[in-house]
Amino acid sequence: MAILVDTDTRLVVSGITGREGTFHSLRNRDYGTQVVAGVTPGKGGQDVEGIPVFDTFHAAVAETGANTAMIFVPPRFAADSILEAENAGVALIIAITEGIPAHDELRVYNHLRRGSSRLIGPNCPGILSPGKANVGIIPAQFFKEGNVGLVSRSGTLTYQIGNELAQGGFGNSSIVGIGGDPVPGSSFIDILERFEADPETELIVMCGEIGGSAEEEAAEYIAAHVSKPVVAYIAGFTAPPGKTMGHAGAIVSGSQGTAAAKAEALESKGVRVGRNPTQVAEIAVEILGSRV
């Protein structure tokens, strides 16, 4: 088992004919993901190394039965592409694109939550279910199959923590990047709910950062609904207020959204918070080790 992407995933890639889109689509296929289609308006009928390209999502879905979309188009086209995928009935949409205007994200989020499609990202590295499927840009070579579910607002920090877990002998059920933007399509809570329901996942690592209140909301949710152990990490204790730290969503506004407040909220609900990535892996190993 894994969550969100697995051997049943049939992937259609928007922006597959772009340089990055081609590179990562082929990497995903090399990993074993079923990449069944691409969408680039005006390039329908072409193919990318044997992957058929369509002019519209509607045609791609009708012809190939795609059930998952990856969005790789530049920011000014991304909201439109996500909405097209939703309109064509794609159940899971994973948006890698960084730099989408916040107002576009607001409209997309509020529209999608009225339907049944799920959005992961934008501004995220995608989802990897080791041994099953990789959708996005997560470097799969650092991860193996296992029982730790990982959910994170940051890409490279996830690789760092995943790598330390691997050195401790542990693999992952799924690794989900929810992205660093202010309006993520899916929150920590959405992913925690799925890991809780996934029989393969025995422990959940949650990797947050400054800005917003998603970690505080997750703390409440964990206390009420999650029976599995959760280990957390929060980045940005040294971030000054009012400065955007790389991710559009990583900003302390006045006294709101500080790392200290998030760590405190999680610890007050019994979630152990590692002080650095190494300690997160150590705590995870300690919990899982003691349960063997």
Partner: protein, 379 residues
Amino acid sequence: MDLLEYQGKQLFAKHGVPVPDGRHAATVDEAVEAAEQLGYPVVIKAQVQIGGRGKAGGIKLASNREEASQHAQAILGMDIRGFTVHEVWVEKASEIDEEYYAAIVFDRAAKKPMAMLSRVGGMDVEAVAEEDPEAMRMVHVDPLIGFQDFHGRRLAFEAGIAADVIRPVGAMLGKLYGVFVAEDATLVEVNPLLITKSREVVALDAKVTVDDNALYRHPDVAELSDLSAEDPQERMAKERGLTYVKLDGNVGILGNGAGLVMSTLDVVAQAGGRPANFLDAGGGSKAEAITSAVEVILSDEKVTAVLFNIFGGITRCDEVARGLIEAFAQIKPSVPFVVRLDGTNDVEGRALLAEAELPNVHAEATMLGAAEKVVELAG
């Protein structure tokens, strides 16, 4: 991107939000000329990106030419909490009857815009919230439907404002929401929202933040970027397309990925050091980007040691190593470097660095080890 008051007011005027008549001035002569054109009394207001201008003496009323000259002279060049005043806004003085507070904000938790109104304005809004939390009324707006008349009416009635301005204040909120959407703003704040003696509703101040990611849709706003007010390193980094934030310590930091860089700052602080900057070299950084980033980090004279913390996903460690080697050839840094390369092509990257035998470059295998080493070297 935070706009100056007068830039916000110019956007307001464009979208039909009433603002007092005013002129921009960068010299005393320009300010006096503006005052003469507008007619006295005028208010001369310092244009800086910081609150508390009034208390600092950056806002003055002038009743004649002499006073206008005097005040402009005092305000231009003045330091307000670390910001030097390079320009003023000269505005026709308003006859104040009441001062309210109005704002449209981006509520991240609700993932919706939120309109706010209080009958108590003209002072620090956090003070209002503390003094009289009931006075501040809020309502979420569905971004797919937009601001409706009822949103404005409801806020106006609930905030308990004077009966004769219920409709005009509601309409004003609708216009501010229009600015918020049309200009891709993440904040539109008016404090105070003025009710004049003749009971007109006027925006006496304007605080507007425009989403950086949407500036491509607003070339006129993008041009307003106030480079002179920025930190020199931050300006240099921006020109080179790097994500850099200046901090006040002495340990220069470069990493890849925003989360990992934030984490690196924290780990350096835990080891007893003080980070000099945040610098995200980004995913897939090529050698030239690394060389360019080293130049930015070292242009901060406080830096006494530099930490490279790379976990390569798309970024290849051999490219990072090549960039560092090139930077040493070009800049010949005099401070020690600690380099931790892990992930994609790490073996090749480490081998390149070992071969190059760069002076005073220390390789470390782990993030924590690297942080301890750089703090020790930074002194």
